[in-house]
Symmetry: none
Subunit: 149 residues, 2 copies
DNA sequence: CCACTTTCCCCCACTTTTCGCCACTAACTA
DNA sequence: TAGTTAGTGGCGAAAAGTGGGGGAAAGTGG
């Protein structure tokens, strides 16, 4: 399980050095193979390949005639890029994805269980502050209201 | 599985250079034989020939009395063009299809699992921005709300 | 059926991107 | 304080994307 928040810098070519603590697990479970895609909140999602493949299977089975399903498929599948840890434990973030998530230099890598999120550092801070300030603005969901943690 | 977004340029003759990473898979599974057709969203669809053939079989079996089915058939079947990777890994996009999808110079090739979509770059960006901004405007679909990814 | 025009495709050259490699610095450990 | 490991940066070779010239093939009109 991936946890925690890691402030990092991209180098001049848009490469991200995966923190050392995650490298061995990634090599063990996915042979260093990863998939990057985008998220609606303008950050990137980083999956170990096997995890992504299971997500992908779900996506492919969605209807091709329903507009919402087609859109979601297009977003996630369409932006998914395979990449691999290089010899120094880095991955190259493809330019179109970097652009989408506004990643230039300072970024944060956020562990999210079976995947990571990659945010522009400023955007991450802003998002968090806004959430804390703004309180509850999301839709309701029964499972949510039943949560104890 | 084809994934990812690839910004490309058509050359002066309307040819599209398929990114190198997809070439070998296409040669292996389809001997470089491809089928181009159009999509409702004013982009083109690019299938490996065997995949297209299975789509085609499904289409042919659709009702000939239902108007929506007839329309879908006409669109997809009627615009389908066979083409092949040339020696440099490029395909020629027939002029009528190029025109339909407004493809001139800058385009994006979007992997969608078993096929690709080819968009005018600007149209693609506009579509994506509208989707992200507008939020959920499609029909609802129970499977969608149950998705965790 | 022949000549002319247009389209298509092979080939080569140029430019940009990608990626392995190595080196430097900062932080942590012993 | 010295040794080790992690993060960062940059060089350079190799690969991929882009563009154009010219010959072959196909389509068109007389």
């Amino acid at each position: 399980m991936f946890r925690g928040i890691n402030p990092l810098s991209l180098d001049g070519k848009g490469r991200l050095a995966v923190p050392a603590k995650y490298r061995q697990p990634l090599l063990d479970t996915a042979d260093g193979q990863l998939v990057l895609t985008i998220d609606r909140d303008r950050c990137l999602l980083l999956y170990p390949l096997p995890v992504w493949e299971s997500v992908e299977r779900q996506l492919i089975q969605l209807s091709s005639t329903n507009a919402r399903a087609r859109a979601l498929k297009r977003l996630l599948l369409g932006h998914a890029e395979e990449c691999a840890l290089d010899a120094s434990g880095r991955i190259l973030l493809p330019a179109p994805l970097r652009e989408f998530a506004n990643l230039e230099k300072r970024v944060v890598l956020v562990g999210q269980g079976n995947k990571f999120e990659i945010w522009n550092e400023q955007a991450w801070n802003d998002w968090r502050e806004a959430l804390l300030r703004g309180g509850d603005d999301g839709e309701s969901l029964p499972e949510l209201d039943a949560l104890a943690f």
